[in-house]
């Protein structure tokens, strides 16, 4: 490890965990899809209704979990300038989806924990990330977050924090983001439900379709989704995190550089396979693999961990190929500058 990195890590103090553990402060993880159909027209397709019912079960689990905060990571909120955290205490708007506008408008008013968002930004910066809060009337909260909060937290029982997904971020940045959020949770002594808004396979049916004809876009997408769900049921979250690149290649339309939510989720919940998972629903929504899944910390791991990827604690910015000598284990290039 070079001196600069060592210094940065030391400055994180207790925020840097020694060993991966399932963090008790994050007592529940929920995966939900972000498409508007379960909210706006569940009656049009039995599968959409089952997803809606899955949301209802997840809502009951949140209530039983003792959580006092929802932290939402939405793959449908892209950012460019690092990561953004919603910090308007009471965002209120009438949302309309870009594609599915004909399903109707979604009026909302949410309860946001702005103080937590500010602390999360501080913690993200302490780990080298670029981050900021956004608190503007009319800020466009994405369809996925709106659907998740309307169905999981309809009466604003719990305050929420929403964090964006950076389009350029890759594994290191996203993993460090999850850890930074855990730092904030631990500092405030919060009990949290971690909500990930993401489909599994994301390929939509790109043609007009009757709701009754909905289907997973391809058998291959379906098979990969089911493989992912098998891991989820066994609580193998960290294993899934490490399979993210593969899943991105096999079952995702590449709209962004990588499939990030499981990196974030695992880092935030504790980088372990120590969970028990329940699949509440898995259905096609306009061709995508849409699942509602919950993960609760369990006593013992159901799968052996196989770590073959770096476990970053700090984000040092974009690196070019020839910057490899800045990586802790690479040493200096001959004649390279040590600055």
């Amino acid at each position: 490890m070079n001196a600069a990195v060592a210094g940065k890590e030391a400055s994180l103090g207790e925020a840097v965990a020694d060993e991966p553990t399932a963090a008790n402060s994050v007592t529940l993880g929920i995966l939900v899809p972000g498409l508007p159909h379960p909210l706006l027209c569940p009656e049009k397709n039995e599968g959409w209704q089952r997803v809606r019912d899955g949301f209802a079960t997840a809502r009951e689990q949140i209530a039983a979990s003792g959580a006092d905060l929802l932290v939402v990571y939405s793959t449908m909120w892209p950012s460019i300038l690092g990561h953004q955290f919603q910090a308007n205490p009471t965002p209120e708007w009438t949302h309309v989806d870009d594609d599915f506008h004909y399903l109707g408008s979604i009026p909302y008013k949410f309860r946001i924990d702005a103080k937590f968002a500010e602390l999360a930004v501080t913690k993200a910066k302490a780990r080298g990330l670029h981050a900021r809060t956004v608190a503007y009337h009319g800020f466009p909260i994405d369809t996925g977050t709106v659907v998740a909060l309307k169905l999981l937290n309809p009466d604003n029982e719990l305050p929420a924090t929403i964090v964006s997904s950076n389009i350029y971020a890759n594994r290191t940045e996203t993993t460090v983001l999850g850890k930074a959020l855990r730092d904030a949770v631990e500092e405030q002594g919060r009990t949290v439900a971690a909500v990930v808004v993401s489909t599994l396979s994301n390929r939509l049916v790109t043609e007009p379709m009757e709701p009754a004809d909905d289907h997973i876009h391809s058998l291959k997408d379906d098979e990969w989704n089911r493989k992912f769900l098998e891991y989820l049921e066994k609580g193998r979250l960290e294993d899934l995190s490490q399979l993210s690149r593969q899943f991105h290649d096999e079952a995702r339309v590449p709209k962004v550089v990588a499939f990030k939510p499981f990196w974030w989720w695992a880092a935030f919940m504790g980088q372990a396979n120590l969970y028990s998972g329940t699949v509440h629903a898995y259905e096609p929504i306009w061709g995508t693999g849409s699942a509602v899944v919950s993960l609760e910390p369990a006593g013992e791991s159901t799968g052996d961990l196989e770590y073959d990827e770096d476990d970053p604690e700090f984000y040092s910015g974009d690196r070019e190929v020839l910057d490899l000598h800045d990586a802790p284990s690479m040493g200096s290039l001959p004649g390279g500058n040590e600055d």
Partner: protein
């Protein structure tokens, strides 16, 4: 009825920074200026339009992204606040605009006949994307003409730049046919940047021009190549290398706007007039006008 026509087509990129820098009354944040080269370029584009009479502005926008077909605004009036999701500190714009629904529907119908999946957007609560607002504001700040706004179908994500271009060529032809049938005179805008790799950090003062430059030289060289082709009437060649350009510079041409424009103009062999090239938070932006009268 006289045959309708395209009075000009323009590449009119939409970095919200340019509206922020102009400090119009509709935008809430206040700036000290910035990005003058591009703003002066828009001024030159406006001057080149001063002696043209036209009835409608038709814009193809990368920031209304649709996956199920191409969508068209189908409500006559929209008034609301647009907040940029990426740069909300710079762009919170109160818009009040009208839509030429008749022409919008006619382009929709012509496109449907070519086999494209199309849909009218008829929800009055729909919020207009910031790309449309930025490009239209910079081209016609008075907002005294109706617009037609066409979404960006993301076939590039699902298939390839080639498939996207094939669809956009059809959409461009359908647009031209609908304009001609309408008897109207139209200004067409392709609302996109060229190379599109952003910096991921913003200077403390966003308009601090000492911080502004292209993200990398490679993008600059590609941008210059594309501009050279556009300004020398080699637009078919430009479309031919678009897949490489788009891949190599993560260009915003992936939205299809520029391909749609070139097709609507029937791939001009006359020169495009460049009004400006400049960067915004590292991305490459050109303002170029094609005047069919100069053909």
């Amino acid at each position: 009825m006289a045959k309708g026509e395209i009075v000009m087509g323009a590449l009119a990129p939409h970095p919200p920074h340019l509206v922020y820098a102009e400090n119009p009354s509709q935008n809430e944040p206040v700036s000290e200026g910035g990005w003058e080269e591009l703003r002066w370029g828009y001024e030159r584009l406006r001057k080149s339009l001063a002696d043209k009479e036209f009835d409608v502005i038709i814009i193809h926008t990368p920031h209304w992204q649709t996956y199920v077909g191409t969508h068209f605004l189908g409500v006559p009036h929209f008034k609301n606040l647009s907040v940029d999701p990426i740069f909300p500190n710079l762009f919170r714009y109160n818009y009040d605009l009208t839509v030429d629904v008749e022409l919008s529907r006619s382009i929709h119908d012509h496109a449907a006949k070519t086999g494209l999946h199309v849909q009218m957007m008829e929800n009055p609560d729909f919020r207009i994307d910031y790309g449309t607002i930025t490009s239209c504001h910079l081209v016609r700040p008075d907002w005294d003409l109706p617009i037609v706004c066409i979404s960006s179908n993301r076939s590039r994500n699902y298939f390839s730049v080639e498939v996207m271009q094939a669809n956009m060529v059809k959409l461009g032809q359908a647009t031209r046919e609908a304009i001609e049938a309408s008897g109207k005179r139209a200004l067409l805008l392709s609302s996109n940047s060229l190379s599109h790799r952003h910096f991921t950090e913003e200077p403390e003062v966003p308009e601090d021009m000492s911080q502004e430059h292209i993200t990398n030289h490679h993008q600059y060289l590609w941008d210059m190549k594309m501009i050279e082709l556009m300004c020398s009437g080699k637009t078919r060649e430009m479309i031919d290398i678009m897949p490489d350009f788009t891949e190599q510079t993560v260009a915003e041409t992936d939205a299809g706007s520029l391909t749609w424009l070139m097709s609507a103009l029937d791939f001009p062999e006359y020169q495009g007039e460049i009004h400006a090239y400049g960067t915004v938070i590292g991305t490459g932006n050109a303002i170029i006008g094609w005047d069919p009268a100069s053909a």
